[in-house]
């Protein structure tokens, strides 16, 4: 496949720790329910999965936020749970509720039936990636993604969201052998899945370890981090066009484990708002350049409910907490990609997002020129 050349490579440069003219910004769930045009398309599609599995709809909604805001990256419109759906667990989304699986994986028999799914069942995702990449026409890079092995396991065992993770943690503590088996299959499936997204045109990939932060110290390393490592070890380093494909790992609530995540074989670590970006930068900059990382994050999405001037002040505070941008042309450093620390709320006023994007661009340019 051949695609149009990239016009705005700021996001990819920041991922790779190269100097940029401004701090790039994109928003988790930027194509989502806070946009009236998204709600209109979803109404046409009839359901969330109707939207995600239709290439034209998925392309349309992925591009919607780019029409409104000068964002520096786009992200495939899909869900983190497509892989277990392809394993046959039966994913659905009731209106206004979270994801549900028809079948759960809680015992030896259910685990024995699990396998890396046939990627043909996920063809709709790869087709969407190619379609979106074409439609972007080089405006900004396209990010592909998946849930992490642990996060997928949470939903597979619980059958949906959970307040206390009782079922998945009971299985983990009572039958660690079964949990390791689930996670190994998930890791291999996620790797094949992300590689197929890269082949289809994804220019960066992100692993959402949305529930890694609910694990105890020790359990996180054994049941989440080890399997994220297993995914990363299998990922392609370049796309079909030969360009390096940066890999982003985001563990919600994972700030305490940053010094361990620092050694992951990836280019970017995502952070939520509980972690001070300056502290995080110092941690990932320790020692040699072998583990060079950029950081992505981390404003609280609830900031977007405040008036514009407060949003702008908080955006500046996040940029300032990261500190002086990396400016050396010849040597990679710690890049910063501005993002939320969690998906944008469906109740966000769309016009507030414009203020955030504008302030990140304007203030980060000022930080570079010293004005």
């Amino acid at each position: 496949m051949s695609f149009a050349p990239l016009q705005n490579d700021t996001f990819l440069r920041a991922c790779l720790g190269q100097a940029t003219t401004h701090t790039p910004i994109w928003l988790m769930r930027q194509a989502g329910r806070y946009l009236p045009e998204y709600r209109a398309t979803r109404a046409q599609a009839g359901s969330f999965m109707g939207l995600a599995t239709n290439v034209d709809y998925a392309t349309e909604v992925t591009l919607q936020p780019l029409e409104r805001y000068p964002l520096d990256a786009s992200i495939l419109f899909s869900d983190i749970l497509t892989v277990p759906d392809a394993m046959g667990l039966g994913l659905s989304f009731a209106l206004g509720e979270g994801p549900k699986f028809e079948r759960t994986v809680r015992d030896e028999a259910a685990v024995a039936q699990l396998a890396v799914p046939d990627m043909n069942k996920l063809r709709y995702v790869f087709d969407a990636v190619t379609s979106i990449r074409k439609a972007l026409n080089g405006r900004v890079p396209l990010i592909g993604f998946s849930g992490s092995p642990w996060t997928l396991a949470c939903y597979m065992v619980e059958g949906g969201g959970s307040q206390d993770y009782r079922a998945v943690k009971t299985l983990m503590y009572a039958r660690p052998d079964l949990m390791h088996r689930i996670l190994a299959i998930n890791a291999d499936a996620v790797a094949v899945y992300l590689n197929a997204q890269i082949d289809a045109g994804a220019q960066a990939v992100m692993i959402f370890d949305s529930w890694g932060g609910v694990l105890a110290d020790g359990a996180f390393q054994d049941f989440s981090l080890a399997y994220t490592t297993r995914v990363l070890g299998q990922l392609k380093r370049t796309g079909s066009d030969g360009a390096v494909v940066p890999r982003i790992v985001f563990t919600k609530g994972g700030g305490l484990w940053l010094s361990q995540m620092r050694t992951l074989d990836c280019e970017v670590l995502g952070l939520d708002w509980t972690m001070n970006l300056g502290t995080a930068r110092a941690i990932v900059s320790e020692g040699s350049g072998a583990h060079r990382k950029s950081l992505q994050g981390n404003i609280d999405p609830n900031v977007l409910f405040a008036p514009p001037e407060a949003i702008r002040a908080q955006a500046r505070a996040v940029l300032d907490s990261f500190g002086a941008p990396h400016m050396e042309q010849d040597k990679p450093g710690t890049g910063h990609i501005f993002n939320l620390g969690h998906g944008i709320s469906q109740f966000t006023p769309p016009e507030h997002v414009a203020h955030l994007v504008d302030e990140v661009h304007a203030h980060s340019k000022r930080m570079r020129t010293g004005l």
Copy 2:
């Protein structure tokens, strides 16, 4: 008032960093729905608040777990939200649901009406403290408690529990002046409330900052930690019997801020399971003895769903992660109080708790004798 002399002071000694013969253990929400005898008493009382406001019932359920397990401390049966209830917000608990307030505090007018409540409205709490202390007859110490100013504010603004804290964070980012006013009143109210519990017989007090961990770095320091500090500065240091009353601060999800919480004027910091206890001990032991702290925590309550041998192994792992117990008789060190990192689940098999308590006692004795 005069009370029977204390027979088991292990918990208080550990709070104060004194050497102990074993690691004391108690469990957050140890008097709760997982116990059939608790459910029977609650059924008699008709409602949660019917239980909490009746001195005899509150005394009965507080002592129930002590009849089953050799726990090293008891904690007043009450709720973290009694103070805003006394402010007139109308607290209730629907069966199987969380707390609800009839009235919320979301605008200037509602904030203007807030004041430190008349402590006579909380007389039922102080009467329960005295009644429980008498009924304990010196078996183990009695812990009093309150929600933190920030955690109370979350419920007061949201009107109940929340998934995203949208209302309280919107107020915080949009009208920080109003939020500071709420927090100042809450802090002064909590201080008066805890002092009255101390006067009534509480031998230690704990501040539950259950929702501090949802705040962004920066916001945590300004809107939670500053007001916990304001409470601590007003607390009595000794009870009516002249004994020192240790103060415990527990911020769920606060591990990232431990180096700042270390300077709080309190004796014990509570930790959840995400924080490595050995790392935490190193952080609170840094520098001079001026900030000496003991640590409380931090096993994942979901461990209690595993079979007994797995529970025992996880209990040993937590004790071992804290490391060698403080053994010097003449010099205070970092004590450890074993606890869960969150309240015990209502679905916990009661017989599993016996295994946890037994293993903590047995293994921590072995750690002291080197056997």
